[in-house]
Structure formats: structure tokens, C-alpha cells
């Protein structure tokens, strides 16, 4: 069951319908759920969300009910199945939308319209979702937005890194440009959508007015490189790929650390820490440009010092000198981080099949001292009967009929 929240949360009482898939849409509604919204995930009968099939799975055994990615993104949500391409599936969805505050969908542009489920229904002439619920906030989260020449183009994390002006700058000069690690761009697009939803829901709370949000992933990704794009617009070129140029990451006894001497003050502290004070008299290191250009020399001379220390030691000793050192955390380091542990960052969910599972927490919390409990991710269609019974008074015969027709 859903845990009782001790105190009202920022979005308590808000009901959000999600027709999401994989990461971007579900991450958006996950963030809304993190802050108290009731999220009803509408999945396709039988198949469900792609993230159920994407893993990681325990022991790499695919099973739509044990995907780690799905668990992280959907913990605390409800799941119902509805085939929205059927008239009765679309009707139930429309009626649910009348009783909801928000809808988040991440299907290809035009798909919701085909089913008469877009915001104002442009395609069918039937009333859209907003005509029966004018205070509804609806967000469409896609790779390129609802308009423009690329709107029907397929995309992936890699191709978006390339197109948005990210990959060009990552990697070594003579080698191929690189995608960012992880599925970073998908999460970011979801985060932009959540930011927009929070704004529109605030507006809704103040004015009772609904609206439609068009979120194009490419725009989300370009907006977070605004400094570099604006620099180009103002005529100054951004340096291209520089590999692991100083201050990059450097190897130590058990992994990699960042020394990160960004200012001259840091540089002085770094030279003292490493016992390389003679470099302070070397004019090549007087400017940040020079330090970047010749930084490899420091790294070479520092090698014995670095190889005699663990990343934890380098980090701690550097921080004692107020140098912004960091160690390159691996996933293992993060899951076992004493700092994140002291801040109760990770949370436990009780999964019916996997038992206690540690999942990353929300990106920030209103009350950091108290970890919020969270229910497990729903099984596919786990709440179909409960939601349809409670909302529409359907009985077991109705449900049996809908199941036979493939609607649920």
C-alpha cells in the first residue's frame, strides 16, 4: 500500500496521468511523485513501459517486473493498463483526465491526436482533453517538440548529444566526439518537463487556468549549454575537444581523482600540497592558459605522490588545503558513499520480488533529515481494477468484458 505521509507534501492532492515510456516522461512524473503528486501511469496492455524491458535486471535475467531502471523511475506510482487506440480505452482515459490535474505524455507527435486525446483536439474535431477539463495542464515531452522540420525524426541519446552541441566538445582532438556517460540527456529532458509542470501547476493553483506545454528535447539540451551557445553568438569560439587536459582527471593508487586547480590561488595550494613549490617560480604556469597547456608536466611530476595515495586520501588532503579536489566516483562508490549515507540520500523500497532495494532518492528534499518512504514500482496494470472501480464504479463483469476486448 502507499505509505502514509506524515505531513502534507508540496503536490499532495494533485493527480497526474502519465502516458510515458522509457526515461524522459517517467522521470518527469517521478519528480512530481517525489513531491507528493498521485501519479497514475497508463501503460499498454501486455507490453507496458519500455523501461520494464530495458533492465538492468538481477542476474541479467529479463523480466518486466524486476527492471532496476523501471523501479527507480516508477517507485510510488500506480499502474493501469488501457489500450488508448480502442474507443473505450480512449473514453476511459478522457474521463480520467477530467478528474486529473495534469497529463504528461511522451508519445510521438500526433499519436495522442489520432486518438482524440490531445489538448485541444485538432485532428478529429471531437472535443480535446481541455474542453472537458479547462484547468488541465498537459505536457507533451518529445525529442523535437510538436512543430518544426525535425518533429517526426527519430533520435537517441547519442544523436541528441551530437545535434545539441555536446559531443563536439567531449573527447580527444584526433578521435571521435563522445556521447555523455549514462542516459544523461533523457533524464535532463524529463527534468526540464518537470520544471515546466511545476510552474504550470503553480499557475493552475493560483488562477485555476490550465494550459499545454510543448517540450522539445533538443531545446532542453541546448538550453543547458547556454553559456557556450551565447559565447558563439557573441563571436568567441569555445575550445573544441581537449581530451583530459589539465585540470582533468588523474590516476592515483585505486582510481581517478580531479585536482581541479581552477584559480591561481588553487594552483599555489596544489604545488605546496604536492611538494612541487619550484613550479611556482616557473613563468609558464602564471596564467590559467599556461597551466592548462603545461599542466601535464605537473601531473607527471606528481605521479609518485598520487600513486602513493588512494582517491579518498587525495580528496581529503586536497580539501584540507581548500583545493576543490574530487574523486571520480564509480557507481559502487556512490552507492556506498559515507557522505550520501549521512544525508540519507538513497532510499529503500520494499519490492515484492526483490525484497529491500536501495534506490537513488529525489534530487533535493524539503526536509533532508527525514527520508521519505516510498512504495515499490507497480506491477503492470496492478491498479487497473482498483482505479476503474473507484472512479467509474465498474464491477467485475465490466472488467472481465474490457479484458476480453483487450482494452485493459
Amino acid at each position: 500500500m502507499f505509505p502514509e505521509k506524515g505531513e502534507e507534501q508540496p503536490l499532495s492532492g494533485a493527480r497526474v496521468l502519465e502516458v510515458g515510456n522509457y526515461i524522459a516522461g517517467p522521470f518527469c512524473t517521478k519528480l512530481l511523485a517525489d513531491f507528493g503528486a498521485e501519479v497514475i501511469k497508463v501503460e499498454h496492455p501486455g507490453r507496458g513501459d519500455l523501461a520494464r524491458h530495458a533492465g538492468p535486471f538481477p542476474d541479467d535475467l529479463p523480466d518486466p517486473e524486476t527492471s532496476g531502471l523501471f523501479l527507480y523511475l516508477n517507485a510510488g506510482k500506480k499502474s493501469i493498463t488501457l489500450d488508448l487506440s480502442t474507443p473505450s480505452g480512449a473514453r476511459y482515459f478522457r474521463e480520467l483526465a477530467c478528474r486529473a490535474d495534469a497529463v504528461v505524455e511522451s508519445l510521438r507527435p500526433g499519436v495522442m491526436a489520432r486518438w482524440g486525446l490531445d489538448y485541444p483536439s485538432l485532428s478529429t474535431g471531437r472535443p480535446g482533453l481541455s474542453s472537458s477539463n479547462p484547468r488541465l495542464v498537459m505536457a507533451s515531452v518529445t525529442d523535437f517538440g510538436q512543430t518544426g522540420p525535425y518533429r517526426n525524426y527519430p533520435a537517441s541519446h547519442l544523436t541528441q548529444c551530437a545535434l545539441a552541441g555536446w559531443a563536439w566538445y567531449a573527447g580527444e582532438p584526433q578521435r571521435p566526439p563522445l556521447q555523455a556517460g549514462g542516459h544523461f540527456t533523457h533524464y535532463l529532458v524529463g527534468a526540464v518537463a518537470a520544471m515546466g509542470m511545476l510552474a504550470a501547476l503553480y499557475h493552475q493553483a493560483e488562477t485555476d487556468e490550465g494550459q499545454f506545454l510543448d517540450i522539445g528535447g533538443l531545446e532542453a539540451l541546448v538550453s543547458v549549454i547556454a553559456p557556450a551557445v551565447t559565447a558563439s553568438a557573441m563571436g568567441s569560439d569555445n575550445p573544441g575537444r581537449q581530451g583530459n587536459a589539465f585540470p582533468g582527471t588523474v590516476e592515483c593508487q585505486d582510481g581517478y581523482v580531479g585536482i581541479n586547480a581552477l584559480s591561481y590561488g588553487h594552483w599555489v595550494s596544489v604545488c605546496r600540497l604536492l611538494g612541487l613549490e619550484e613550479l611556482l617560480d616557473d613563468p609558464r604556469f602564471d596564467s590559467s592558459f599556461g597551466r592548462q597547456r603545461h599542466g601535464q608536466k605537473l601531473v607527471e611530476q606528481a605521479r609518485p605522490w598520487l600513486m602513493a595515495r588512494t582517491k579518498e586520501q587525495v580528496f581529503q588532503e586536497g580539501q584540507e588545503h581548500r583545493i576543490p579536489t574530487a574523486y571520480v566516483n564509480t557507481p559502487e562508490d556512490l552507492v556506498r558513499s559515507p557522505h550520501l549515507d549521512a544525508r540519507h540520500y538513497f532510499r529503500q523500497v520494499e519490492h515484492p520480488r526483490l525484497g529491500h532495494v536501495k534506490v537513488p532518492g529525489p534530487p533535493f528534499r524539503l526536509d533532508a533529515s527525514r527520508p521519505q518512504p516510498v512504495a515499490s514500482a507497480p506491477r503492470l496494470g496492478e491498479h487497473t481494477a482498483a482505479v476503474l472501480e473507484a472512479e467509474f464504479g465498474l464491477d467485475r463483469d465490466d472488467l472481465r468484458r474490457l479484458r476480453a476486448e483487450g482494452v485493459i
Binding site: 571521435p176 493553483a205 510543448d214 543547458v224 558563439s232 557507481p331 552507492v335 544525508r343 533529515s369
Partner: protein, 413 residues
């Protein structure tokens, strides 16, 4: 009349560099009145990045400063002077939200920490965007964008197979991403305040915001004890998947094929060369296993062609592909142009330029044309007299004593 979501909300903005100002910049786009506080003793270090400070008023020209501070009102207050502190507290009295990203303890030391400001205004929300948060063993540690990228898992996952982790994963690093989450924190906090009528302190950790984007690798460790490693441009299930050389100097095209349908479309677009019929490439598992060979075939094809044309050909065939673009090319994008993604700005010192707009299109509350970033101390009079009611004599005295001003005391910070 158009009403924006945060109209009527006043944000007292004590942030600097990139992460904080990009957070409050988003709030400004959403209609909040953002009062940016700097001082002539120490102006926002964001004014010094990517700019030649020896130019006339160089500190008004930094690109990121322009991009992140549009729509804000600029005030200078020396918080080392008691009168500056008093004015800051008076601003807190008439604000809804204070945001700051100083090192832990700095705001307290200056006399403008949460406890002091709460006495002025119990409904005030204050958000501190520190590197590691206000509690825990790393609470007082120094952090900037690069260390946050290293500590939070992105650097570990970005890089060539077998190579070192790379801290740089895009043209701009993690700061504006942290800023996005900072804006989100402000919105969540405003929802909560609206509900309860009470103010509070929100301890925001940049580290945690970025770790929350690492779902798959973290869950793989939790479930399987596996430490995912750098995989260059490859993907565990897709092939071909990479950036392939194209005609010209340092030109590349990215291609990602996830399933049989996309593979068939790719082969068709390439006019079915013989190697497409190689039985090893017939299914996804085979393509993935033999991707080194596959990449050689693809490379031979792409390197003869213009990246843009290759991408268009493949996209029209339904295969995810795109040219690898630098920021200048992004500025010339026809799709972004069609979606009016770039704002035309005209700044009195930095001049005419374009910058990305707010990333969301709203049907009812789209931001109006923005004002450019404020000049140093540009709105001293409007805010200190207009809002706080200080007399002209007081302002003159404050200016005399360098508590306020419009000219920096030194050009470097």
C-alpha cells in the same frame, strides 16, 4: 492581460558564477521579480568567464552572464558594511525567496544567514545551493562544476573504452543543469509555502541533484554489484552506434540503430550494398557482436559524404542520425529557428546577440520578450529608493562610502 506563473513573487538573488544565476534566471523567465545582489567590492564572478576583461567594461560582456541574468534587476550592496547588511535584510522582508550559493557558513558570517533573515520575514523560503549540502562529512568542502561532474558519476561514464574518465561531457558542464534543479527546488518550495503559509530553509546539494540522473548504472550496481565502465560511443544493445567520420576536417555523423526495422531502413538508404546482406549482421545480437567490422563498412560509406547530408538521408529513412555540431552550427539550426528558440538581445555594453530562450513552450504563460542582464548596480535607485524607501541623501551617503555603486573597485575578482 497575460499573467506569468510566478508573477508577484520576489526573489532575492545572492547567487554567483553559473549554477545559481541559471536557477534564478529560470525563475525570472517564469515571471518572478529577481533582485540580483552583487557589490562593487566583489561582483558576480560569472562576469569574468569567457571574456577579455581588459576591454572597456569587460565585466558587462561575459556571454554566460548575459544568458543567465536576463530579466533581473541589479543591485550592489557591500555586505561587509552594516548598512549593506541592513538593506539586504530589508529586501528579505519584502521577498518570497532567497537563493544563494556561497560556501557553507558565508551567509551566516555576513549576518544574512537563514536565522537572521527569518526574524525579518517568517514566510521567507531560503535555498542554499551548496556543492555537497549543509550536513554530512563533506558539508564544508569546496566544489565547482568540474568536481561535481567528477564526484557524481558522469565523469566515470564519459570517455573512450579503456581510457581515463573525462570531466567534460558537453560544451558547458554541469552548472546550468544544477541550475535547472535549483529552479525546480524553488518551484517545489513555493508550492509548499502556498499550501502551509510558512517559510523554511531548503538544503540543496548539487552533488545529489546530479546523482539522481544516474539511474541505470546505480541500479546495476545495486542489483548486480556491477560497476559499469566507459563505453565510448557504444551502446549495450544497439549497433551500429557511434560517431563516424565524414567528408571534411573533423566532421562526424552520429548513427544509432536499435532494432531490425531501423537496420533495414539503414540498408535501404545505403542502397543495399553487399555487406548489408552479411549473415553476421542479420540480427541485433549479431550486429552488436560484430560491430567492429560493421563500423568499418559504415565508416567507408560515411567518410565519402557530408555529415549533414548523411544525417538527413538517414533521418528521412527513419534512422536516428545527426551531424556532430559545434555551438555555431547549433545557432544556425533550421528547426530551432522555426521554433523561435533564440532570443534576440540588445545589451547596452555587450551589444546585439542571440541566446537560448526558456526551454518550455507554454500555451498560456509564455514569457514576454526579455530585458537584457542588468549593468552592475543598474537598479540601485529603483530598488533601494523605490522599494525600500531610502532617501536620496541616504543613497548619496551610501554611494560615498562605497556601500553601493556602479563602478567596480577593481576589475578582477
Amino acid at each position: 492581460m497575460r499573467r506569468l506563473p510566478l508573477e508577484g513573487i520576489r526573489v532575492l538573488d545572492a547567487t554567483h558564477f553559473w549554477a545559481g544565476p541559471s536557477a534564478t534566471g529560470i525563475l525570472g523567465d517564469l515571471g518572478a521579480q529577481v533582485v540580483k545582489v552583487e557589490s562593487i567590492q566583489r561582483y558576480d564572478a560569472g562576469r569574468t568567464l569567457q571574456v577579455d576583461l581588459s576591454q572597456e567594461k569587460g565585466y558587462e560582456r561575459a556571454p554566460a552572464f548575459q544568458a543567465f541574468n536576463r530579466n533581473k534587476l541589479g543591485v550592489t550592496l557591500n555586505l561587509g558594511d552594516e548598512r549593506g547588511v541592513r538593506a539586504f535584510r530589508a529586501l528579505a522582508r519584502v521577498s518570497d525567496l532567497v537563493m544563494e550559493n556561497f560556501s557553507a557558513g558565508v551567509m551566516d558570517r555576513l549576518g544574512v544567514g537563514y536565522q537572521a533573515l527569518r526574524r525579518e520575514n517568517p514566510t521567507l523560503v531560503m535555498i542554499s545551493m551548496s556543492g555537497y549540502g549543509a550536513t554530512g562529512p563533506w558539508r564544508s568542502y569546496v566544489a565547482f562544476a568540474t568536481p561535481i561532474a567528477q564526484v557524481s558519476g558522469i565523469a566515470h561514464l564519459t570517455g573512450y573504452q579503456g581510457g581515463p574518465p573525462l570531466s567534460r561531457f558537453s560544451a558547458s558542464g554541469v552548472d546550468p543543469i544544477v541550475g535547472l534543479f535549483g529552479a525546480m527546488a524553488a518551484l517545489v518550495a513555493l508550492h509548499q509555502r502556498r499550501r502551509t503559509g510558512r517559510g523554511f530553509y531548503l538544503d540543496f546539494s548539487q552533488h545529489e541533484a546530479i546523482v539522481s540522473l544516474m539511474g541505470t548504472p546505480l541500479m546495476d550496481y545495486v542489483l548486480n554489484g556491477r560497476n559499469q565502465a566507459r563505453q565510448g560511443d557504444r551502446n549495450p544493445v544497439a549497433a551500429p552506434h557511434g560517431c563516424y567520420p565524414s567528408r571534411g576536417e573533423d566532421r562526424w555523423v552520429s548513427i544509432a540503430v536499435f532494432n531490425d526495422d531501423q537496420w533495414e531502413r539503414l540498408c535501404h538508404a545505403l542502397e543495399n550494398p553487399e555487406w548489408c546482406r552479411d549473415r553476421r549482421f542479420a540480427d541485433a545480437v549479431g550486429r552488436h557482436r560484430h560491430q567492429d567490422d560493421l563500423d568499418q563498412h559504415i565508416t567507408r560509406w560515411t567518410s565519402q559524404r557530408d555529415a549533414q547530408e548523411t544525417a538527413r538521408l538517414l533521418q528521412e529513412a527513419g534512422v536516428p542520425a545527426s551531424p556532430v555540431r559545434n555551438c555555431r552550427e547549433v545557432l544556425d539550426d533550421s528547426h530551432l529557428e522555426a521554433r523561435e528558440f533564440f532570443l534576440e538581445m540588445d545589451h547596452p555594453v555587450a551589444g546585439r546577440h542571440r541566446q537560448p530562450r526558456h526551454p518550455v513552450l507554454y500555451s498560456k504563460t509564455q514569457p514576454p520578450p526579455p530585458r537584457p542582464a542588468p549593468l552592475l548596480g543598474e537598479h540601485n535607485q529603483a530598488i533601494l529608493s523605490g522599494l525600500l524607501g531610502l532617501s536620496r541623501e541616504t543613497l548619496e551617503e551610501l554611494e560615498q562610502d562605497q556601500v553601493i555603486g556602479t563602478v567596480p573597485l577593481r576589475t578582477k575578482v
